[in-house]
Symmetry: C2
Subunit: 169 residues, 2 copies
Amino acid sequence: MSESESAIQAAGLELREEPVAADREAVRRMVADSGFFSEAEVEIAVELVDERLAKGPSSGYEFAFVESGGVVSGYACYGEIPCTVGSYDLYWVAVDRSQQRRGIGKLLVQLVEDRLREAGGRKVFIETSSKPQYDPTRHFYDRCGYVERARFPDFYAPGDGKIVYEKSL
Amino acid sequence: MSESESAIQAAGLELREEPVAADREAVRRMVADSGFFSEAEVEIAVELVDERLAKGPSSGYEFAFVESGGVVSGYACYGEIPCTVGSYDLYWVAVDRSQQRRGIGKLLVQLVEDRLREAGGRKVFIETSSKPQYDPTRHFYDRCGYVERARFPDFYAPGDGKIVYEKSL
């Protein structure tokens, strides 16, 4: 068992890495309730679950769900970037509102990094918005050891830039 | 008719913006023959045609083909970046080997830019490799007015970084 799996167990949580149909609604709820994401972004988060349910591993999307008594507390979605050798995108990390400040986000990021190391991953990328409301998100990635690698002003919309974080494994 | 459409006509070429099934092979040939792309990349170029053929405009992939006497001389593939307002990726520009040095690539880029301006596009992004073999590609983007915005060393593979170019419309 990897260190991150032990830590999830020690926190009284269960890990599940294969999505089921009910995860569509769990993902929708967690991503929407976070208040950070637009409706279009919520739909995309759900679509990635759909892709995985329809196509399995060939979808390119990997998932990790942590649960407490069968209820999803948080999840991560990641995948190898097409046409790269060992570069991965961490697409989503979301934690149920009632379960925040318990360190679940960090446990999920560590689990993903362990899985990527096992798979020969070299780099993890995370994209996020430059808007002030995302300050907590960016501090979270800082604390997880991610480094800002690029900024694209006005990328998402005028006044809403993209920041790309990277971590070498 | 936009300026770029007139220029395509003046060059004795025809423009077509809806892919047909035969474009799968034309795209495969042009992208493979360029010598710049891996097999996996060639497959992705063809997959984008498939997505468009299967889903139409909702695929998110737009195309422009220039033809001479019914034979495809070059093509471009582009699309709005999900969750952005007016930011587009120019995914592919490829010109048949026998038709190069006629300015077809530049005509295609100008046509794409005209289309994006018409659609309210603000920014165009292009990603390419940092490897020396891509020097001509990067010089081409320079000449088209694209500016290097970010570099990610070792992104595609060790020693093969990604460069992101941007142009504001």
